[in-house]
């Protein structure tokens, strides 16, 4: 919202400079994003009268040699290229030495054979609009020699304010002025009240008094509502025979509808420069008097208005939901299929406007329009928001309705529009007022005085609470029947009486420590004590809140699982892996590229309904594709030796239960309801994965380095397992996307927890990875679960006796996994075996085709004695025998 400071000062004249106002607004919760000074850099431009004009013809174009009188007896000659002014016109002349916006200094210069002593300015050259059409022609009675900057009030400031969605009233000069006044303790004259002054040329003085006050009573509303509902087709007749007939079918969605008519609008009327500039500085383009007037009222008061060309309306206006199949061409020229939920303004021809969003082309005012129906209404925020969203059609009007427009404002806003049209376009306001009022009764909040201190953390005396609430426009009383409660809230008592009466004050007694508060009509966001607390605290200043710390009970720290997760990340980082956090969206082709079969849990994708990109519409079921993409990105940037890891959730669709009903929010859902919600969530295990490409040990002066291999991938799994305290068992497997001959299944505690190894060549090709790329992926949640279930470590008895080392070489069939041989050796050697090391693996002609020689070192030791050679040899021999029995191993001699 752009707020023009000069406009703001009309409501609060004593405001300090713009920067101070901006700071105060920020402190009050209005985020001023910029303070833009405008027109401050304009100097030396005066009003001149055109005395004579002489055409100067050149080969390229014609210009004019103009004599302008800029003082009583001073005339200057100026060359000018524009032709839109005549002798006798008043124009803005920049004399030599003048400075135009942007620091552009004017000098006298010789051109077209003349000494041109200055420049006749256009509006854009003065920085007051983007009209490059020609020279700015001022009203004929403008005094010659006047400083133009002063005349047009050009020095101004514009505040750009980001208004939070709860404060719709902030989208108006009226609303910001109230806040600024409160911030500086200045008196505030509500522009909406000024707007209610009778139209000078109007004929219906008696009618004007019927315009409800800001805090209009519910009784009045319901009285009019009755007329509106029963008088279908002749609405308004009950109140005013001349009012335009309006029927409001959906009174919940349209709680207020005011229609006024003006006639005799002069099509040639022009919006005065001051107002046009005000619009331009507010970010809106001046268009025509009727359009500019509706925009000025909206910006000033916050009430969006719509101007219908009355001559194009046929029959009564009906506010209703659209019907199936109805269409509307909106002002932007787009033909729109209406939804039965859309709230529309219709006439005999069908819909003529999307209520609160945008008017229709068929009743749009044009250059010929002389009769205008001004609509000032209150539409339901949700209805407007839904329609705007459905048609992807946001407008200044919809923005305000969505955030809440003051429902009491409609008559005053319509009134103000009429007055402006009367003034600016010679129009005549018809006396008839249509005002269909179904506003609900004002809310009454019982506000415990202690509540502000309870949340604010410091005392807030009752008189401060009262004053601050009054400043935001609340009516405040101590009791329902209470007398005046002091300055500024005297009239609040009436409002409270009004509010209480329809609610039926059935013994709703207020204790000593409470206030009765009726929020103002423009604050639909104030419904509960907490909302009022915020108003008091923010106006007092958040900086007046003390600084304390809560006294916490002793915490339990990180859970073991959380600590283990950190340890895993740290361990991998210390092993050379770089952590990445990739975007978890993958394409439909991912299961294929990974070679997954449809029954694989990793093929059970969760799909995004509104993906950012169609080729990445699924959530990852494995971390690998993201790691592959990161690896390829790195390789593309010249980093080929990679060890990456990622820890994160993956998403796997489960057989979905039926969508459970959404629990209410006015109570805690019961456990069954919570369980039902959780039951439909996808599985989201936390995994850890690594990908390896290129060299594991870099090349350097020490040598060519070491390529990363399947062993490194398995080693990464062991690193993770070691950080968790879990032992992994490695078994050969052939799961995609791994190389079927180089894939290790990793188990712990009898559960499969992941896989590691070299990637399948087909997968490597599908992703464009370098040959021999390796990967590991573990279900970290499960590993941690296993870790948490482990009993405390039992310390080994550390023997102080010397060990007996025995080395053996066994020849086995090449297909026998080492793990089986070691298991057999361990079993055979028994408790005496302290350590078992495989120190050589040999395949070759000397041991025969299809065989493998495995050389092991057995370290044997007893806890309580030095082993004899016989004992050590016996243990070794049993180990060999067991290996022979279980794996067919033969002792190599």
């Amino acid at each position: 919202m752009k707020i023009v400071m000069s406009w703001l000062r009309e409501a609060v004249p004593a405001l300090p400079p713009a920067k101070a106002v901006a700071d105060a607004l920020i402190r009050a919760g209005f985020e001023v994003e910029a303070v833009e000074p405008v027109g401050h850099d304009l100097a030396g431009v005066v009003v001149g009268e055109v005395v004579s004009i002489e055409i100067v013809r050149t080969k390229k174009k014609d210009v004019r040699w103009v004599q302008v009188r800029v003082a009583e007896a001073a005339t200057r000659g100026v060359i000018c290229g524009a032709f839109n002014f005549a002798v006798g016109d008043r124009v803005a002349v920049a004399l030599p030495g003048a400075v135009l916006p942007g620091g552009f200094t004017i000098t006298a210069r010789r051109t077209y054979g003349q000494l041109s002593e200055g420049m006749i300015c256009s509006a854009s050259e003065l920085g007051i609009g983007d009209d490059h059409g020609g020279i700015l022609v001022l009203p004929p009675d403008t005094p010659v020699g006047t400083d133009v900057a002063e005349l047009l009030d050009l020095a101004d400031d514009v505040l750009d304010i980001a208004v939070t969605p709860d404060r719709g009233y902030g989208l108006s000069v009226r609303g910001i002025a109230r806040e600024a006044a409160a911030a500086f303790g200045l008196p505030f004259d509500d522009p909406a009240e000024a707007a209610s002054v009778p139209v000078p040329a109007g004929r219906g003085d008696d009618r004007e008094r019927a315009v409800p006050e800001q805090t209009a009573s519910g009784q009045t509303a319901s009285g009019q509502a009755g007329a509106g509902q029963t008088g279908a087709g002749q609405t308004g007749a009950g109140q005013d025979a001349a009012g335009y007939p309006v029927v409001v079918e959906d009174t919940a969605a349209c709680s207020r509808y005011v229609a006024r008519v003006v006639t005799g609008v002069r099509p040639d009327a022009v919006t005065p420069l001051r107002l046009a500039r005000r619009l331009a500085l507010s970010g809106m383009r001046p268009i025509s008097v009727p359009v500019d007037v509706t925009n000025l009222i909206m910006l000033g008061l916050g009430q969006p208005l719509h101007a219908f060309d009355r001559a194009k309306l046929s029959g009564p206006i009906v506010v209703r939901r659209a019907r199936e199949g109805e269409r509307l061409v909106t002002l932007d020229g787009v033909k729109r299929e209406l939804d039965p939920e859309d709230l529309v303004i219709a006439d005999g021809s069908g819909p003529v406007a999307l209520a609160g969003v945008m008017g229709g082309a068929s009743t749009e005012i044009s250059a010929d329009t002389t009769e205008i129906l001004i609509e000032a209404a209150h539409f339901d925020p949700v209805a407007v928001a839904r329609t705007a969203r459905r048609h992807q059609l946001g407008s200044e009007a919809s923005r305000r309705f969505e955030r809440g427009v003051d429902p009491a404002l409609a008559p005053a806003a319509a009134h103000a529009a009429l007055r402006l049209l009367t003034e600016l376009a010679g129009a005549t306001a018809e006396a008839g007022v249509t005002d269909i009022d179904h506003r609900p009764a004002p809310r009454l909040i019982t506000f415990p005085l202690a509540e502000t201190a309870r949340l604010g953390g410091r005392p807030y005396p009752a008189e401060i609470v009262r004053r601050r609430l009054a400043e935001v426009g609340c009516a405040v009383a101590d009791t329902i029947t209470g007398a005046g409660t002091g300055d500024g809230v005297g009239d609040g008592t009436e409002a409270i009486a009004d509010a209480v009466a329809p609610a039926g004050a059935d013994g709703d007694s207020v204790g000593d420590g409470a206030l009765l508060v009726v929020p103002p009509s423009w604050r639909p966001d104030l419904t509960r004590p907490a909302d009022l607390v915020e108003e008091v605290i923010r106006l007092e200043g958040y900086d007046t809140i003390p600084v304390t710390l809560p006294r916490l009970p002793a915490g339990r720290g990180l859970t073991r699982g959380q600590r283990i997760r950190r340890a895993v990340g740290t361990a991998l980082a210390h092993q050379g892996y770089v952590e990445v956090l990739t975007v978890p969206f993958v394409g439909d082709d991912t299961p294929d590229r990974l070679g997954l079969t449809s029954d694989d849990t990793r093929a059970a994708v969760v799909r995004i309904a509104n993906p950012i990109a169609e080729d990445a519409a699924n959530l990852r079921t494995t971390l690998l594709p993201g790691l592959f993409a990161a690896a390829i990105r790195n390789i593309g940037r010249g980093q080929a030796d990679l060890a990456l890891f990622e820890t994160g959730l993956v998403f796997r669709a489960t057989a979905t239960a039926a969508t459970p009903p959404t629990p209410a929010v006015d109570r805690r859902p019961d456990d069954a309801e919570i369980a039902a919600l959780n039951a439909v969530l996808p599985e989201q295990p936390r995994l850890v994965a690594v990908v390896l490409t290129g060299r594991r040990e870099p090349a350097g002066w020490w040598g060519p380095g070491q390529p990363a291999t399947w062993q490194d991938a398995i080693d990464a799994a062991h690193t993770v397992a070691a950080a968790t305290g879990v032992d992994l068992t490695v078994t050969a497997d052939a799961l995609t996307p791994w190389h079927p001959g180089r894939c290790a299944r990793l188990s712990a505690d009898g559960q499969v927890v992941g896989y590691a190894g070299e990637l399948h060549p087909r997968v490597i090709a599908a992703y464009g990875l370098p040959a021999r790329a390796c990967a590991m992926e573990l279900d970290l949640d499960t590993v941690i679960e296993i870790a948490l279930a482990r009993p405390p470590v039992t310390a080994p008895a550390v023997s102080t006796y010397p060990p007996a080392d025995r080395d053996i070489a066994l020849v086995v069939e090449a297909g026998v996994p080492v793990a089986r041989v070691t298991e057999a050796l361990r079993r055979g050697a028994g408790d005496l075996l302290e350590a078992l090391t495989l120190f050589d693996v040999y395949e070759g002609s000397q041991i025969g085709e299809g065989k493998r020689s495995l050389a092991f070192g057995l370290r044997l030791r007893a806890v309580d004695r030095t082993l004899t050679a016989q004992e050590a040899n016996a243990a070794r021999d049993v180990a060999i025998a067991e290996a022979t029995r279980l794996t067919g191993a033969v002792l190599r001699t």
Binding site: A573, V680, P682, T868
Partner: protein, 447 residues
């Protein structure tokens, strides 16, 4: 074997052969067949190429010292059986005469003093001092042949000569050892500036490290860490947080929904659903921080990411006030940007807090001082917007079954990327998801 040569290869003498120390080695089963050279245990005591230890000509001082006690004890009275088994025919009692002994001493001392290296010195020692044929040894054998009255005197003379020669030997040994050491240490010099990291460290992601860091600050205050699913049900993400069905945040422009649309599932747009889950599952009072990943409908570019990290805090207890929130946020701001920075709360709006505020921290770069501006960190605002906060909205408490009349609470939240960008001067948010190792490695292992 002379001690000096025995110690010439320290790797042979220092590290005992495993079989020698074992309880009865059994050579028959050691190693394997000769054709395949036999599997050789990789051992740490193999000489490293280029190291001085591979130069077998250079004895190790420690090793040679260790071998000193193995020398035959030359002191009289501790006669060894071998001397008694000596050949009496070669005994020459005259060898014990003062002149002869003096001559032996002079010769030996002169030779020792001019020994050129340790090997020569060792040979001279054998020749003059310890060897079976050394003049002193021969003279010693003559001792027994002397009549007892002369023995004592001759013994003293012999001892004196021995001690003198030994002293000469020790002196020369010290000289030569020092020379040798000086030479070897020079020879063993390496270029220590050679790059040596063959297994470089990896790195934690800066967002993980920052999250852990902030979590630690709160855990130290007594908070616990709560977590929840990223694919979340609408009720936890919106409904219970006082975001009604028509709240703009629910727009598909902002929120990523899980297919099919009516399923009620979405990717959480903030970590706040964890607050709801916490209030539903834990007994009061509740003090938790909730770090985690969240999602928005934004494509990746310099300033947007569909995925981003958040950290939220929640305190619900009796008597919690905005003053407690201010104090807690000061601790938080200091953890983030350093101590001594002012903070401010600006009134704001969030559906799930009332009153609500934005937290600003004074810019650590310019501290709002015009003299230090223009400031790239804060664009001369003087303040850095860190996150949103407020008192937990009563509607949220009610939806979680907490009595808002008895309990109050505060909540705050912040985006990790934004904080990390400011803290580490990161210019492109995509750096956090691209996974470029140059970016990642610069942050180290996170401590």
């Amino acid at each position: 074997m002379p001690p000096s040569t025995q110690s010439a290869d320290p790797h042979r003498s220092d590290v005992p052969d495993p079989s020698a120390a074992s309880a009865g080695g059994d050579p028959s089963s050691r190693r394997t067949g000769p054709e395949h050279a036999g599997p050789v245990r990789p051992s740490a005591d193999r000489p490293e190429p280029g190291s001085a230890a591979s130069n077998s000509a250079v004895p190790d001082r420690a090793a040679s010292e260790r071998t000193e006690p193995d020398r035959p004890d030359p002191r009289p009275g501790s006669q060894r059986p071998s001397s008694q088994r000596g050949d009496p025919a070669s005994v020459d009692p005259g060898a014990l005469g003062p002149d002869r002994l003096e001559q032996v001493r002079l010769q030996a001392s002169a030779a020792i003093a001019t020994a050129g290296d340790l090997d020569e010195l060792a040979a001279l020692r054998t020749l003059h001092l310890d060897g079976r044929g050394a003049p002193l040894a021969l003279a010693r054998r003559a001792l027994g042949a002397l009549p007892p009255p002369e023995r004592a005197e001759a013994g003293r003379r012999h001892n004196a000569a021995t001690a003198a020669i030994r002293a000469a030997y020790e002196a020369r040994l010290a000289e030569l050892t020092a020379e040798r050491d000086a030479r070897v240490l020079v020879e063993e010099r390496v270029d220590v500036t050679l790059p040596g990291t063959r297994r470089p460290l990896g790195a934690r992601h800066p967002l993980s490290a920052l999250s852990d860091h902030l979590v630690d600050v709160f855990v130290a205050m007594g908070y616990e860490v709560a977590e929840g699913p990223e694919a979340e049900h609408d009720w936890f993400n919106f409904e219970a947080l006082n975001l009604g069905p028509d709240h703009p945040a629910r727009s598909s422009h902002d929120t990523l929904y899980v297919d099919p649309v009516g399923s009620g599932l979405l990717l959480r747009t903030h970590t706040s659903p964890v607050q709801i889950r916490t209030l539903l599952s834990r007994p009061l009072p509740v003090y938790v921080v909730c770090p985690g990943r969240t999602y928005r409908n934004d494509a990746v570019d310099a300033t947007h990411s569909p995925v981003f990290g958040q950290l939220e805090g929640l305190a619900v207890d009796e008597g919690i006030t905005m003053a407690d929130l201010r104090g807690t946020l000061e601790v938080f701001a200091q953890a983030l940007f350093g101590s001594g920075l002012a903070t401010r709360l600006r009134p704001s709006y969030f559906p799930f807090t009332e009153p609500s505020a934005e937290l600003d921290v004074a810019c650590f770069a310019c501290r709002g001082e015009p003299a230090r501006q223009p400031c790239r960190v804060c664009s001369d605002e003087g303040w850095i917007e860190v996150g949103g906060c407020g008192m937990v909205d009563p509607n949220v408490l009610v939806a979680c079954g907490v009595d808002p009349a008895r309990y109050s609470g505060f909540a705050f939240g912040m985006g990790l990327e934004r904080a990390a960008m400011i803290r580490h001067d990161v210019h492109e948010i995509r750096d956090f998801v691209d996974g470029d190792v140059r970016f990642g490695l610069s942050f180290g292992t996170g401590n």
